[in-house]
Amino acid sequence: MIKEELKQYLEQTFPSAKVDETFDFPVLFLTKEELIPVMKQLRDAPETKFNFLFCETAVDRNPEFEMVYHLTSTYYHHDMMVKVILEDRENPEIESVYSVWEAADLYEDEIYDLFGIRFTNHPNLRRIFLTDEWVGYPLRKDYQDDRIISL
């Protein structure tokens, strides 16, 4: 499906969710609770067959966080983006999509390392780049460090 068709399909299939588009992808906004069933449906439905999570990341939209999932299909070669807003800044938590795509394993380790978002049901959540005793999460907007020299 091309982008406009995919956007129309998403609007028909998920009438409660907000659908937007960027220059490249159609965007589907979800809540924390409906994330896993909708992702499983997107992966298994014969119309979409999104069988590959090619990027997972987070954005700090101070004060809330935004989880971003990029999906692609190796059958139809179409892409889309799924976004989830996390309101709780003190203790952000979301269900891991490891049960849907195993590629999420290292992506979620990295997001936990740099943003401090905790993933439930993740098999091995740990600090992947920084040392274990590191204090704070460097990619947050309010991160403070004495070693940073600013211009």
Binding site: Y143, I148, S150
Partner: protein, 185 residues
């Protein structure tokens, strides 16, 4: 006017000649012969952390071929190395590893800081939470090579500068034992 004559020690070379009339020895100093050996075979550690390591590999391989100058034996163990070329960004997570590698090398040991990251932090000097600002914060550096990354020619020039430094060093300094003044009295 007195002209100082060159002092030539008396030396009976005939005593040391073999049956064909050849003498088979040379005269030199320990410093010169030790520095000659050391400067022409510094073994580098195969250590590289980012894009400078690509230039390092290019310098090792056939086109630039630094074995022309005697650096060819790249060692995988710091216990067999003389020189460590710090090629690339050193993060705070990597810094203790680099310090341990340096400590494991046998004396005399030399360090070359290759590229802007190893010299000063380079492009990561501002607004970075993870990068060490120059390896001279943790280990002593002999030669600094600027560039991002340096060309293989500059790396070879840096290695030849290190060779010059080794040739000028004192290899063996014999220290006289200090006299104990109280015993003399």
């Amino acid at each position: 006017m007195d002209v100082k004559k060159e002092y030539i020690p008396e030396f009976d070379g005939d005593l040391y000649k073999d049956e064909f009339g050849r003498t088979n020895f040379i005269v030199t100093t320990i410093d010169k012969i030790a520095n000659w050996g050391r400067s022409n075979s510094p073994w580098p550690l195969s250590f590289g952390t980012s894009c400078c390591a690509i230039e390092l590999m290019s310098t090792v391989s056939a086109k630039y071929d630094w074995s022309r100058f005697g650096f060819e034996v790249m060692r995988a163990s710091p216990r067999q190395c003389d020189v460590i070329v710090v090629a690339g960004t050193i993060t705070y997570k990597m810094a203790p590893v680099l310090k341990r590698l340096y400590d494991q090398m046998p004396d005399p040991k030399y360090v070359i800081a290759m590229g802007a990251c190893a010299v000063s932090g380079g492009p990561f000097y501002y607004n970075s939470y993870a990068v060490l600002r120059g390896v001279d914060n943790i280990i002593p550096v002999d030669v600094y090579i600027p560039g991002c990354p340096p060309r293989p020619e500059s790396l070879i020039h840096g290695m030849m500068t290190l060779q010059e430094k080794i040739r000028k060093s004192k290899a063996y300094v014999i220290q006289k034992p200090k006299k104990n003044k109280e015993e003399d009295k």
